[in-house]
């Protein structure tokens, strides 16, 4: 789905990611590497396929970009690269696999990693974590912490992750309940904000239906009053569905 905001910056929702065709920038939400390993350590013995799944999903997204004859020039990870706050050696190993895969398409310095609230330690000797990243009039950050620079006049669009937004649709109460990942888009402080769903497949995310009671302002840089007016885009397998505003679900 092609979208243009009022500032005429073109972007496209691609699966769980956002692509800026004019700039060749692909943006991915929280990937939480090590989530499955954390489950295994907690005694839930699932086969660890997370990295394999991430790579196969990335492959599909990159193929779509190429099929549309666009150039992929840069990839940005919006933080919470790893799941555990502590350092686990396996995560480094897994991160290597993802970087190695992406290097087949773009040079390493064009893979940007932003620091999330889970990324408390340096995660990898080869990887530089940034608090935020600015590309022209677009700012990219995780979303738990604000920085003066992103509210600079020249910035028109701000892309964040962190909130893992999802929507619960109910028809027959108590029985027919389904949960879907979603994007949120709205304006705050004269900037266009876009919140990405988490990239990690297993978890649908945190329901925006509960924002009225559960939204923690201390947890996010977007105030509750503002986010309630954000538009909701639900992620279907085939397409994206526009579904009114966050407040309509509360």
């Amino acid at each position: 789905m092609d979208k243009e905001n009022k500032n005429l910056i073109k972007y496209e929702f691609l699966d769980r990611s956002i692509f800026f065709p004019d700039k060749g920038v692909l943006v991915l939400g929280d990937i939480h590497i090590g989530y499955e390993q954390a489950l295994i350590d907690a005694g839930v013995l699932i086969p660890n396929r997370q990295v394999k799944d991430i790579i196969s999903d990335l492959k599909k997204i990159i193929k779509k970009i190429k099929d549309s004859k666009y150039n992929l020039k840069e990839i940005i990870f919006l933080g919470d690269i790893k799941h555990l706050f502590s350092y686990a050696w396996k995560e480094k190993d897994n991160l290597d696999k993802i970087v190695e895969f992406l290097e087949e398409y773009i040079p390493q310095e064009k893979i940007i990693f932003i620091r999330g609230n889970h990324d408390t330690t340096e995660i990898h000797s080869k990887i530089k974590l940034r608090d935020f990243y600015i590309h022209g009039e677009i700012a990219f950050l995780h979303g738990h912490k604000s920085f003066l620079e992103i509210f600079d006049k020249k910035i028109k669009v701000i892309i964040t992750g962190h909130l893992h937004p999802s929507v619960i649709l109910t028809e027959v109460p108590g029985v027919k309940i389904e949960s879907y990942k979603c994007f949120l888009e709205g304006s705050y402080k004269n900037k266009t904000f876009i919140v990405l769903p988490s990239f990690i497949k297993f978890v649908e995310g945190t329901a925006i239906n509960d924002y009225e009671e559960m939204y923690l302002e201390s947890f996010s840089i977007i105030p509750k009053r503002e986010i309630m007016n954000f538009k909701v885009y639900i992620l279907g397998e085939e397409r994206i569905y526009e579904f009114g505003k966050v407040k309509d679900f509360n």
């Binding site: 013995l45 699932i46 086969p47 109910t170 027959v172 109460p173 279907g236 569905y241």
Partner: protein, 859 residues
């Protein structure tokens, strides 16, 4: 096959005394006038080392029947100076508290005998349960108890301990108590544990099974001794000679019209309590337990307070429960209200009245509950059913009739459970390295695994050895299997610790506390699974009151009690006891008889006479039942044992199909889901279902009933059901239980105890991961089996379909404007679940269209 022999003749006093050590004989003569029935059947066969299953009513001296000959033998050995430093007898009971009880009841006679002859025999009795400390265990290893008192789980752990096993090499007796309560996976588990004990012991441990009144005895006997041509077992059935006094009471004369039904019920309960010394009330559910206690305290503050009334149910802490049991034994409590938790045999002292609120759902359960009154043999057991609606009234009257006629519902042990098998194979592999044939032969001697297929066995081995993981780091691998040598052994240094800390078959559940928002007043507990079905602002029923979901914080749900709206959420039925198939058929038969009476146009007086005689009920009750049947008869038709009536009607644009299938909730669960699934698939949309013991209904837009009924056959029921349950909550939930039993989810791992809540949240990842590997993953297969055979009753559902195919049962489809009197209860109860046909993406698309339409309309 195992050889079974029924004992018809009890032994005489003389025969018994000639088989006992004189000290034991003299003790008996001193203490009792004569032997009780169960002792006359048991003592000599046990002395002669014959396997025996004894079924007799509670309070009939069963414990002593099992132990007398063993004590006699051990005293013989002591006198000859031959008492060795090893375990001679293992006593295994599913109740931890009971083990403690037995220790007292066994030690006391022994001490009295020692006093009689003024010397010590040196017979050690030791208790080993999950609560036994490391120090006590170490002591036990040095000086093993001659009689070991234990639980099924602890026995399995003992059997992996190389050192302790040495003491069990010559186990001569093995007593299994409370067998009637083992018709679940604990029983399946124990059947394998017993085979493990048989295998390590160089002599055959004589099996002594003790049970309350139970059917079918032959199957239970095979469960006890296992399946093998050289095995023989005797059956002794002591008939209930205890007098019973049961009545069905209604709080008001006219259940249908009285507005004060609930208040009057409490008046009736209180009157009954005041007329007796100590009363035990069964309520079937935990939430009702608390409600009854609170209501009695509120309504009669001078009669009931914390000092004389208490609630007892399984979600209370262990200490709290022990405290209540102790106060009950000491006669300090006037009344105890319990869910089902006091059904089993721990001694609770003198009870002179048992009240059952609502139907106990089976005659065996009713008898078991009634047995808690007048626990001693020759006292009269007094019980009262209190009913609140007309279906309940008929059900309780029929169950009462079954009790008087001594008709017992049949029990069934779950078979070929691959989760239990996984846990046991792991335990066996920890103990030693096995040859494939050796371990499979052992497993197949267990009654519950006698017809285990080789494929199921090998798939379980594959799961345990990590072959399904498809990854280098084999997270599943618990054992190794060498296809060359066909040997099996354990893997990993932590194996024993993982096994010991995660053993067992009882699923852990966690509960959410429901509190009133603002005041924080606690109104009750709900199951976590129930919460996951609820959304903000939904209205649900808890303990008879309506609440509205406001928000959740951690393990608390905050609600508002000021609600006018009707419930939006179906009640949570996981706790609800299902009506037994046998009792259900008895009710159907009664329906048939009454229908014939009504059709014969005999005068009302004659028909009332018939009901009074048949059910042994007073005039008022007979009249209420008569009126109920007459209403149905004049309105539509009375369905019965040879006729299923299907009512068709529409309401608010929705089409309803209401099936009068009185086969109990478990059979109806299977039938309704299979039929609903076919109807849904034909129409392409979801189908709403509501299930009760008396029938079920389906609601939807397009309902192709005739084609569905042609489609569904006995032989394809299983296929349809497997598809129908694939996306249900119940499968996900049961899968979590099976995953825990097969040690895919560990509650204790690397020294940390994981909360069930966390496990529950994460288990759906496990389910989707497993489905990705293969839809035929053995533990997933087991979860399906559990849903079909243990939650539902596919076996009897097939039987019903075969009756329909053979035209033994006919089906009649009738159109109605409003639901008939017999179907009111089912309709009022609301929907239970939804059969999901529409997939997640289609649902999203449809919701989006509705959403767009709404936006346009609003503009």
């Amino acid at each position: 096959m195992t050889e079974i022999q029924v004992i018809n003749e009890p032994n005489t006093k003389e025969q018994i005394f000639s088989n006992l050590n004189p000290i034991v004989s003299n003790w008996f003569k001193l203490k009792f006038k004569e032997f009780v029935e169960s002792q006359k059947y048991c003592l000599v066969p046990i002395k002669n080392r014959e396997n025996i299953l004894l079924s007799s009513p509670t309070g009939s001296g069963k414990t002593l029947s099992a132990f007398a000959s063993i004590l006699s033998y051990l005293i013989d050995l002591h006198e000859k100076g031959n008492l060795e430093n090893r375990t001679y007898a293992v006593y295994c009971s599913p109740l931890k508290a009971l083990s403690r009880d037995i220790e007292v009841n066994l030690k006391k006679p022994l001490e009295e005998m020692e006093k009689m002859v003024n010397k010590k025999f040196g017979i050690r009795i030791g208790l080993r349960t999950g609560d036994t400390t490391t120090l006590e265990r170490t002591k036990m290893l040095k000086n093993p108890p001659h009689i070991l008192i234990t639980t099924p789980e602890s026995l399995a752990i003992i059997l992996t301990s190389k050192n302790f096993v040495e003491h069990l090499r010559k186990t001569e007796f093995c007593i299994v108590d409370e067998i009637h309560s083992l018709d679940n996976k604990r029983g399946t588990y124990l059947s394998l544990t017993l085979e493990r004990l048989n295998e390590i012991s160089t002599i055959w441990p004589v099996k002594i099974g003790l049970s309350a009144t139970i059917e079918p005895m032959e199957e239970v006997a095979k469960f006890l001794v296992g399946v093998s041509p050289e095995r023989k077992v005797k059956i002794a059935k002591v008939i209930l000679d205890k007098k019973i006094d049961v009545e069905v009471l209604s709080p008001v004369d006219n259940i249908m019209e009285d507005q004060d039904l609930h208040l009057k019920m409490y008046d009736l309960i209180s009157d009954l309590i005041q007329e007796h010394k100590t009363t035990l009330i069964f309520t079937n559910t935990r939430s009702a337990t608390e409600r009854v206690v609170n209501f009695l305290k509120d309504r009669f503050p001078t009669e009931y307070g914390d000092d004389n009334i208490a609630a007892h149910h399984s979600s209370l802490s262990k200490n709290h429960r022990f405290d209540i049991e102790e106060r009950l034994r000491q006669g300090k409590l006037k009344v105890v209200v319990c869910s089902t938790s006091l059904e089993l045999g721990i001694d609770i002292g003198f009870i002179d009245l048992v009240i059952m609120l609502g139907s106990p759902k089976s005659s065996s359960r009713a008898l078991q509950r009634l047995g808690r009154a007048g626990h001693r043999l020759r006292e009269i057991s007094k019980g009262r059913f209190i009913v609140l609606d007309r279906d309940d009234l008929i059900e309780c009257c029929i169950i009462k009739k079954e009790m008087i006629e001594k008709k017992i519902n049949k029990i069934r042990f779950p078979k070929n459970c691959l989760d239990v098998l996984s846990q046991q194979i792991y335990g066996m592999a920890i103990y030693k390295i096995w040859k494939e044939k050796e371990i499979l032969d052992l497993i197949k001697r267990s009654y519950c695994y006698a017809d285990l297929t080789r494929k199921d066995f090998l798939d379980t081995i594959s799961y345990l050895s990590g072959e399904y993981a498809l990854e280098k780091n084999n997270v599943y691998a618990k054992i190794w299997y060498d296809p060359e040598t066909k040997e099996i052994g354990k893997r990993g240094k932590l194996a024993r610790v993982i096994y010991m800390t995660n053993i067992g078959t009882i699923p852990e559940e966690s509960f959410i506390t429901v509190k009133i928002a603002g005041t924080n007043e606690v109104v009750g507990l709900i199951d976590e699974g129930f919460l996951s079905r609820m959304r903000k602002l939904d209205v649900f029923v808890l303990g008879g009151k309506k609440y509205q979901h406001k928000y959740t914080r951690g393990m608390n749900l905050y609600v508002s009690s000021e609600v006018r709206r009707n419930p939006t959420i179906p009640s949570w039925f996981s706790e609800m006891l299902p009506l037994s198939f046998d009792s259900a058929l008895e009710i159907s038969k009664f329906r048939y008889l009454i229908r014939k009476e009504l059709e014969s146009k005999r005068p009302k007086k004659k028909i009332l006479e018939f009901i009074k005689n048949y059910l042994k009920v007073p005039e008022k009750t007979a009249e209420a039942i008569y009126n109920y049947f007459l209403e149905q008869h004049s309105f539509l038709e009375i369905p019965h044992e040879k006729l299923i009536v299907i009512e068709k009607f529409s309401d608010l644009g929705k089409k309803y199909l209401l099936f009068h299938t009185l086969y109990g909730r478990r059979v109806n669960d299977a039938l309704s889901r299979a039929i609903g699934y076919i109807i849904g698939a034909l129409g392409g949309r979801d189908i709403e279902i509501g299930i009760s013991d008396n029938g079920f209904y389906l609601a939807g837009e397009r309902m192709m009933l005739k084609r569905t009924l042609e489609e569904l056959k006995e032989k394809n029921l299983e296929k349809f059901l497997k598809e129908a349950i694939d996306r249900t909550d119940v499968l996900a939930r049961r899968f979590r239980h099976c995953a825990a039993r097969s040690l895919m989810i560990l509650k204790n791992y690397k020294g940390k105890n994981k909360s069930v809540g966390k496990q529950q949240m994460k288990s759906h990842f496990l389910l989707s991961a497993v489905k990705k590997i293969t839809n035929e993953f053995p533990i997933l297969r087991e979860a399906r089996r559990e849903v079909l055979e243990d939650v539902m009753d596919i076996k009897n559902a097939k039987l019903v379909l075969s009756w329909i195919e053979k035209k033994k049962v006919k089906i009649k489809i009738l159109e109605t404007d409003i639901p008939s009197p017999f179907s009111l209860g089912l309709i009022l109860q609301g929907h239970t679940d939804l059969i999901r046909i529409e997939d997640k993406q289609e649902f999203l698309k449809r919701m989006h269209e509705l959403h767009i339409k709404k936006i346009i309309e609003n503009k």
